[in-house]
Symmetry: C2
Subunit: 247 residues, 2 copies
DNA sequence: CGCTTGATTGATGCCATTCAACATGGGTGG
DNA sequence: CCACCCATGTTGAATGGCATCAATCAAGCG
């Protein structure tokens, strides 16, 4: 892991990322999908003044598991991973967040898991305590946060079935279908995975070699097509569905 | 699984469990730990009139994965499991709930996972839509629900590390420590597991035989002591901690 | 007592990991 | 622009951990 390196190079997070002050909610691309969507213009303005826009670079870790919980944020742009790891370095990715998602742990003293940027990303960052105070007084915000957390919990629990009970083949097939749903293919049907093999392995709870073998197997079977490191085309979706369920 | 049997015997849930009407919040044993804790007496009274007390028997399934989402509930007494399963019958337990916990999926049309009683249990049951409506208008309730959901999400994500990255030995050790924290031992230090070997296996994502082998191994090492089907004594907690982290 | 259900133990095989070599390709500096 | 390099990905062979199949054991119960 290059976390130590990131830390040395960039310093601990809250003080680090380059702020882009002066930016308001007016041009915000996620304004009506993020948790602030239901706020009145004046409330949104108030919230906006609590926070600030920052950018983080791919590989940079935004929050560390177990640290004092200082900030929460909306993801304006980019992709980040949430992860935990064992004492001896085995890592499990417990979530991947995209534009308009919310990160951090409101109403809690500790950061439950690390947050690391997979791509360059822009965040709308709030000091946690200030955000907590604001949320307590704004039911609409709190309601959206609740909805989002309930959805996250459902998805996370579904993923437990994959981690605990599915074979490597089923895991990879499920993962590819998931990506196919989330990502827009280009005109040839090719999609560009936002994750390395190692990251895929850390999501599925298997090794990088197993990911690679399963992918080439699926290619040999004509179910998918591989192109370069990150390109995949889902040739036979129905077959993938079948394999994902254990056919 | 005897789910089909339960269904045939008792009918689909919402109409089934024997109601115990007339009971109020006054003598409720979980009143100040459940989500209703922060409500004013009059609000609590209102909420109480929306719901009703029911009892369910061990083995009975309260909600079915994928069904229309009709009810939510407070657990007054007993233990229940939340589970999902693959088409071919492999099951993964995604949560275990105890007295004062909340079950069901507010603000959602579908039940995301099944809920089954592990012991006889008493529930304070609410029609989902009515509960949703009440919650929307009561920030205190919604806030507590949010807190609880955030905690659940943290715990669930932690469990993903176990499912995805830990060995059978580590899984069993972690499970036993978790039980040791949650359950009160008797004067000899013995604790009574609320789960069968099959259920433990379904929580840890391994087979019943592997659970059994790991337990007897730990016993041979003098780390734990086994007594009957459900009795365990954690003899050497420090050693267990070490094994849980991969020593 | 037999019957049933749950738990333990044993034998065997397979899938995923591990260790290792090799390929690829994106990026950089000469 | 090409050669080189390092990170990333693929492939191979061997090991081992866990699942599977199956027999035995231990309780509870009619």
């Amino acid at each position: 892991m290059d976390m130590q390196f990131d830390l040395a190079q960039n310093g601990a997070f809250p003080t680090v990322p380059r702020p882009c002050p002066g930016q308001t909610c007016d041009g915000c691309t996620v304004r009506d999908r993020a948790i602030c969507a239901d706020l009145s213009p004046t409330d949104r303005e108030t919230l906006s003044r609590i926070g600030r826009r920052v950018t983080v670079h791919a590989g940079q870790t935004v929050m560390w598991e177990g640290d004092d919980n200082m900030v929460v944020a909306n993801v304006v742009d980019g992709t980040l991973k949430l992860a935990t790891s064992t004492g001896d370095g085995r890592e499990q990715i417990v979530g991947v967040v995209y534009a308009s998602d919310f990160i951090g742990r409101p109403f809690g003293a500790r950061t439950p898991h690390s947050v690391t940027a997979l791509t360059d990303a822009r965040l709308c960052l709030f000091p946690r305590r200030a955000f907590d105070g604001f949320a307590r007084n704004h039911g609409a915000l709190q309601h959206r946060l609740l909805q989002r957390t309930l959805d996250d919990l459902d998805r996370t629990r579904d993923w437990m079935l994959l981690l605990g009970r599915k074979t490597a083949r089923e895991k990879v097939a499920t993962f590819l279908l998931d990506m196919g749903r989330r990502l827009r293919p280009d005109r040839t049907g090719m999609i560009d995975l936002p994750l390395s093999r190692q990251q895929i392995a850390d999501i599925l709870g298997i090794t990088i070699e197993t990911v690679s073998r399963q992918m080439t197997d699926l290619k040999r079977q004509g179910v998918i097509d591989l192109c370069g490191r990150r390109g995949v085309r889902l040739v036979d979706g129905a077959a993938l569905e079948a394999l994902a369920e254990g056919a």
